[in-house]
Symmetry: C2
Subunit: 218 residues, 2 copies
C-alpha cells in the first residue's frame, strides 16, 4: 500500500517529510490539506492528528505526526538518509531539535505573517522581532557549514532536509542566500541531489494555485 | 567521572536535562552558566556549544547540546525514563519535537520578555501574540492528558520532563494551572515522583539569587 502524506505546498514542515519520502525512493502520494480554509483545525483532522498540524503520514494502520518523526520512520523503512553511528544519530537529533526551535518555527511564522495574512491582521511588532531571532539562527547554521558539506554527517541526511525546508521558498521573509555563503552552497548541494524537487513541485498547493482558484470563484 | 551539566536555574531547557539526570539516578553536578551576563554568547561557551545555548552536558570526552539529545543519552546510559517499543519511542520523539516547537519555545520566550528584560526593552506586541499561540498549545496538551496519566507511555518518560519544564516556574507568564485541569493533575503526578525537585532547588541561579547579588554590588 502506498504511503499517504497529508500536506500542502506552502508548509515547510510538510516539505521536510515529503522531500525525505521522495529522496528515499519509497512510494508515496500527497493528500492535499486545505490549511487556508481551516482544515487542520477541523474535528476530522484533529481525529487524525490531535496536534492539529500538517504533515501527517499514513502507512497502512500506522499514523504518524511531526515531520521529525516521519523523517525518522522514512530512514528506518528505506535505509536511506540516515546514519550508522550513535554519535551521528545524536547529531541528527540535535540539529532537528535546533531547527524546530530556532529556525523553522520562526521562519514559518514570519513568512506566514508577511505573506499569508491580510495586512490589516498582521500583529504589530512581531515580524521584526522574529526576524532578529532568525538572523541569529542563520549565523549559527552558516558557521556550522563553514568547513563541512552536510549538517550531521559526511553525506545528506534527514537533518539537512529539516534545516533547509523554509529556505527554498520564493516569498521573501528576510532570508537572503547571498548573505550566508555557506548556507547558500549547502542549499545548492541539496537541490543538486538527483530527485530533488522544489516544494511547490513536490506537493499540491501554492500561492499561485490559490490566486487562480480565487480568480475562478470571484 | 561525574557528569557535568552547564545550566542555570531560570532555564526551562536546562531543567529538562537536569531533572532527567536527577530522576535517572546518574551522578551529576551542575556548572553555573551566567546567562544574564552574556556567557552563552561568549567565544568560550561557543567553543563548547556552537549553538550558544544552555544546557550542555559533558560526560568524560562526550559533549552534548540540546536538552532532547541529553535526555536521550540519559535514557541510554541509565536505562531509566525511556520506553520499550518503537511505537513508544516515536511518541517520545513526537512530543519532544512538539514541545520544542509549540510549548517550551514560546513559553520560555514569553517569560523572558515579561520578567527578565527591562520594561523599556520589551518589544511591542510580541507578548500577546506568543500568549495566544501558547493557549493553543495548552489546549492540545490538556486534551492529550484527559484520559491518560503520562505524555508518551503508561509511565513517566523524558517526554513528560520535556513538556512540563516551563510550567513549574513561579513567575507568571499567562499559564494558570487551574485553567487546565488535566495538565494540573499531571504536573502534580510528576512533582510527586520521589526525587523530584523544583528548578530553583535543582540548579544554581534564580531571580532571588540575582536580586541578592545586585543588592551586594550596589
Amino acid at each position: 500500500m502506498t504511503i499517504r502524506l497529508y500536506c500542502f505546498g506552502e508548509s515547510g514542515n510538510s516539505y521536510k517529510a515529503a522531500l525525505a519520502l521522495e529522496l528515499s525512493g519509497l512510494g508515496w502520494e500527497p493528500v492535499y490539506v486545505d490549511f487556508f480554509n481551516g482544515e487542520t483545525r477541523s474535528p476530522e483532522f484533529r481525529a487524525l492528528n490531535e496536534m492539529g498540524e500538517a504533515p501527517v503520514m499514513v502507512d497502512g494502520d500506522l499514523v504518524l505526526a511531526q515531520s521529525g518523526v516521519i523523517q525518522d520512520y522514512v530512514v528506518e523503512k528505506s535505509g536511506k538518509l540516515g546514519v550508522a553511528t550513535p554519535e551521528e544519530r545524536r547529531e541528527i537529533l540535535r540539529w532537528t531539535l535546533w531547527d524546530n526551535h530556532k529556525l523553522s518555527s520562526p521562519a514559518g511564522m514570519t513568512r506566514f505573517l508577511i505573506h499569508f495574512l491580510p495586512k490589516d491582521k498582521q500583529p504589530q511588532g512581531v515580524i521584526p522581532f522574529t526576524q532578529a531571532r532568525l538572523n541569529a539562527a542563520y549565523k549559527t547554521l552558516n558557521q556550522h557549514l563553514q568547513n563541512r558539506d552536510w549538517v550531521a554527517a559526511n553525506h545528506l541526511t534527514i537533518a539537512d532536509l529539516s534545516c533547509c525546508s523554509y529556505l527554498y521558498y520564493p516569498e521573501p521573509f528576510g532570508f537572503e542566500r547571498k548573505d550566508w555563503p555557506h548556507i547558500d552552497a549547502w542549499l545548492s548541494r541539496i537541490s543538486d541531489t538527483p530527485g530533488w524537487k522544489h516544494p511547490y513541485d513536490l506537493m499540491p498547493g501554492s500561492p499561485a494555485d490559490r490566486a487562480s482558484q480565487e480568480g475562478k470563484t470571484t
